[in-house]
Subunit: 623 residues, 2 copies
């Protein structure tokens, strides 16, 4: 009984701050906070083990707020753990406040940026899987809303959690019936949620989410259950619970109370103990992650200059070598490990290989969970299929994760499989995200070196790998820093510069040979670092060729590719970039047929150079 | 008994052509075809109603091959319906053959391009929902693989299908146990599939997928069942069924037989009747879609020049007006209809409003299904959340659909909700897809006009709408053609041109006013058509300003936005584009604070102009 009145008191204070902070901000989602106040009060008061002085302690329990719009509740929870003064919540949603509209990394207690719905269970599964694999004793809690359960990613995560026997994962479902624009698909039909989570092999407890005894009992049983199943606590709640005029009422999503409404609401809540606090148990140990300390990422691969290698294969070999020396690395696969060649890593470090099956969204958010506690996740699939997880990648960027994305089978050069399998918009998407490093080695030596650079780099990286085999261009030991490039052809008499990347490097070299026969010299640069692109080298090229023009050639759609990075980098009066890229949907066919069809083959490049030379001459003759 | 031997004969011929065509191509997925040969033989022989001379007849049954890699089976099926000579299948995967590695629209019997897995059930649900809404008698069949059931989109589609009571939808699950790189999550544990589809409220039949009697019985019952549930026929099958050395064997995914293996396989199949054919029942009626005939998309909205309007609101009003006169239009929502203002359409045409709840992937693929049979789907959500469906949008482009995407809440100008809700990479992604029209009106008059243009345009369109209200800039009746722009400020003495779009138009106008006070004139262009961008007007601007420079300003990340479209359009010796855009992750705050923080406000624009003028003068003084 004593507990219950304490929980009531604390839940009341959570409600107060959820209401007060949103009214101060004049926006936000108070009703979505109120439905979960009782559950989280019990969780934090009795079960949650955490050291607020060290959020990155890997022995801490984890609380993932999947329904990110309930951010004020999260802020109130940790405020009541004495992480900061609760009065600071009055800065909610203000410029430069750590209390943003939805949680972001500047709020250090957020396990991930949330606010795009349906991603939290995957993040939690990533945290829980790490605990299982590394024998860490923490429990991961995920709070989901009911609206977001319509997102397919939730069911990818549910499959993943039960397949990997994550009995250290507890998802709490806040079934408050009302979504943004009306009732959810299932309203308060609790059986619809029960039957789904049971079918996905969860241990299920259904409770009244405002009954403290039921909440406590469910959490107790969730911890003590003996099986290997993850747990779902399905809580029937009322949106806006505790304030009569907003409770279980449509039209109150994402609406702050006006001052006079707030007053009325606080009156209804009655006397409140403003000093109520959670006294969290601290974990027994305290270890911060240390995986970002100096790493040995040396790769010693030998290449036979008379042979060809697919960069995807070399990636797999380099990965398998590096992962053995870097204990923080994990590899995630979506059932294409024999195409991306992450299978090499599976062979040497199966304990750090995570099979995600064909569920790319969950894979990326699981990686975000790993990254949160200091791991370096390498996530690989076909480049085209990263688009399936574009929103999760966007959120991984906002979460400031350290994920390495490797996309194979890029461009039309994959050949017969056809356009559905070709990554042709991947650079546009990945490249748009601020500070994203985009790499595309064209052959073996540079691939091995860049896998090493990629792992060393702190922050997000996207690497494109090729399906076809290519010949070796570089010598063992050459350096390939991020942001660099390689000049492969030059003379004192170059008319202009071709900047290529990946498969088109070979077309550019062949074009140079063709043009040479007609006494036209061109410069050829391998832009293995697509972003950041090698601005200085390209500017130097512009300054030393007859025409101040760079022709970019790439196996990617015309918009948003290498060409646009170069145009932005060299933009200045007099400079000039001409883009050659794919401008239509491709088809099945042989590599050479498709490069020609797309107009990015050697002959097309040679023709373009001649056209530019001619028009330059015409302009300067007329001038 | 008679039937069974006929089915056996036909299944054998399907097997033969699946094997022969892939061996001829030296690539492809024969084993994935063989597991489904028996089921589809019975389906096509006894149940499928279709007029091969008119694939777009809206009375045809629909067969969606979700497991697109089994394309040779699809090609053999319609070949055996006398749609073409089976011998043409020997061109499989050749350049310019209609028989691509995965189905695409050049193969007219494909209901959608497939090959990115887990999308077919949504496409089928879109077809089935149209039939329900418009009282069309056809049945939609979807053939799914088991590997792809790990994709969350399948469960979004399953929820959608049962919620909308699509009892005219039959999904056949080809549970052949083996995925690309190993066993699926559940192997042959049929109960795992049964319990999931039951929990999602499907009527479930589990069968041996190689037992003709069971197949027939299941299909029979699937058609005659009285309820409102969609049906799942869960078929236990063997990958590579019928050829001993590839049957149920790992390592045979996506591998064609060598010539000698093919010979051995055909020997095993035994005598084959090459003349076996399906005699399809034709539907009773034949009506092609006619919705793309001339449409009345006039919008008559009045604006008060003293008031401000959010373009998202004007979009909603224009949409509600147009949809009443265009019977082929449908509107799809992901539970944000009160933010995107598609709720206006719900009010006037509820029969053509489709609530998809928070499941953007399914929403987009459902729209692809609608588009296939001549509908014009308008799909709206927050611009940021279209990234959740990026892969489905990519496939909708390959499918050559006619979907109109409308993304609200773009850019940092949304304010307090923070970065998770801001669309800042949407132009990069949508804009990369060939022929995608990208529009961003900045105020009411142009929004209304462009909604009309968007619906009239045949092909994909993406329109960005704004959260904040903006003042009216244009007069009633002004034209806003796709590919156009509006010059808002000009003088005979402009130093350079600012090209803005959306919210930054107002910042550019304000910058012009600020600069005017210092006697610096600039030209300001509203690029409401981001792609195609108004090349001619921009070239004219370059030719008539002091500095041959266009400064682009946009509330979007720097890479892949308007600036890159302009740079590509005006690229020529001497021209020059300077991009101003968002270069970091934004935060919560007021609109003005965030525009300033991102460096795309009026003051930043004015400063940039002065900097460019100064550096131009320096260059030309030194020269």
């Amino acid at each position: 009984m004593k507990n219950i009145s304490a929980w009531e008191e604390k839940a009341k204070l959570l409600r107060k701050w959820s209401l007060v902070s949103t009214t101060a901000a004049a926006s936000g989602h108070p009703t979505s906070c109120l439905s979960a106040a009782d559950i989280t009060a019990v969780l934090f008061d009795k079960y949650f083990t955490y050291d607020v002085s060290n959020p990155l302690n890997i022995y801490n329990d984890r609380f993932v707020l999947s329904k990110g719009h309930a951010a004020p509740l999260l802020y109130a929870l940790f405020g009541m753990c004495n992480a900061y003064d609760l009065n600071e919540l009055k800065t909610l949603r203000q410029f430069n406040s750590r209390f943003e509209g939805h949680p972001v990394p500047r709020y250090e207690y957020a396990e991930a940026a949330t606010g795009s719905l349906g991603q939290g269970l995957s993040v939690g599964a990533g945290l829980a899987l790490t605990a299982k694999r590394e024998n860490l004793p923490f429990t991961t809690y995920v709070l989901c809303g009911d609206g977001e359960l319509a997102e397919g990613q939730v069911w990818e995560a549910a499959n993943f959690a039960s397949y990997h026997r994550l009995n250290n994962l507890i998802v709490i479902l806040d079934i408050n019936r009302l979504a943004q624009s009306g009732e959810t698909m299932f309203g308060h039909h609790m059986n619809e949620y029960e039957q789904r989570f049971r079918a996905f092999n969860f241990r299920v407890f259904t409770i009244d989410g405002h009954n403290y005894e039921q909440i406590d009992q469910a959490l107790e049983q969730a911890h003590s259950h003996a099986g290997q199943q993850p747990v779902a606590i399905i809580a029937r709640t009322e949106k806006g619970k505790g304030v009569s005029f907003i409770e279980n009422k449509d039209g109150w999503h994402g609406k702050a109370l006006k001052e006079e409404e707030l007053k009325k609401a606080l009156d209804e809540l009655g006397p409140i103990n403003d000093n109520a606090r959670f006294e969290l148990r601290k974990p027994a140990s305290s270890v911060d992650d240390s995986f970002l300390s100096p790493m040995n990422t040396t790769v010693k691969l030998d290449f036979d200059n008379n042979k060809s290698y697919a960069t995807r294969e070399v990636f797999g070999e380099a990965l398998a070598e590096i992962i053995q020396h870097v204990p923080g690395m994990y590899v995630l696969d979506a059932d294409v490990k024999n195409s991306t060649f992450t299978q090499n890593a599976l062979k040497v470090t199966p304990e750090r290989f995570i099979e995600c099956f064909i569920a790319e969204q969950n894979m990326v958010s699981v990686a975000a969970g790993l990254s949160r506690i200091g791991k370096i996740p390498v996530v690989a699939t076909f480049g085209a299929f990263f688009m399936r997880a574009a929103d999760q990648i966007r959120m991984a960027r906002i979460s400031e994760t350290n994920i390495k994305f490797v996309g194979s089978h890029v461009g039309v050069s994959i050949g017969e499989d056809g356009p559905s399998q070709m990554a042709l918009e991947d650079i546009a998407f990945f490249g748009a995200l601020p500070d994203m490093v985009v790499l595309q080695p064209c052959e073996g030596v540079s691939t091995a070196a860049l896998v090493s650079e990629m792992v060393q780099h702190k922050g997000l990286v996207y690497m494109r790998t090729l399906r076809p085999k290519t010949t070796i261009l570089y010598k063992p030991g050459e350096a390939f820093p991020i942001g660099g490039s390689k000049i492969l052809r030059q003379s004192p008499d170059d008319v202009l510069t071709i900047a290529a990347t990946g498969i088109t490097v070979y077309e550019a070299l062949q074009a140079a040979d063709l043009l040479k026969q007609e006494n036209i010299n061109i410069r050829v640069v391998d832009c293995y670092s697509v972003s950041p692109v090698d601005k200085q080298t390209l500017l130097d090229c512009l300054n030393s060729t007859h025409i101040k023009c760079i022709v970019s050639v790439e196996d990617h759609f015309a918009h948003g590719g290498l060409g646009d990075f170069i145009a932005a980098a060299v933009s200045a009066e007099g400079n000039y970039v001409e883009k050659m890229a794919v401008t239509k949907i491709s088809q099945s066919g042989k590599q050479d047929e498709l490069l020609k069809d797309a107009g990015i083959d050697a002959a097309s490049i040679a023709a373009k150079v001649k056209e530019l030379v001619q028009s330059h001459e015409e302009v300067h003759t007329h001038a």
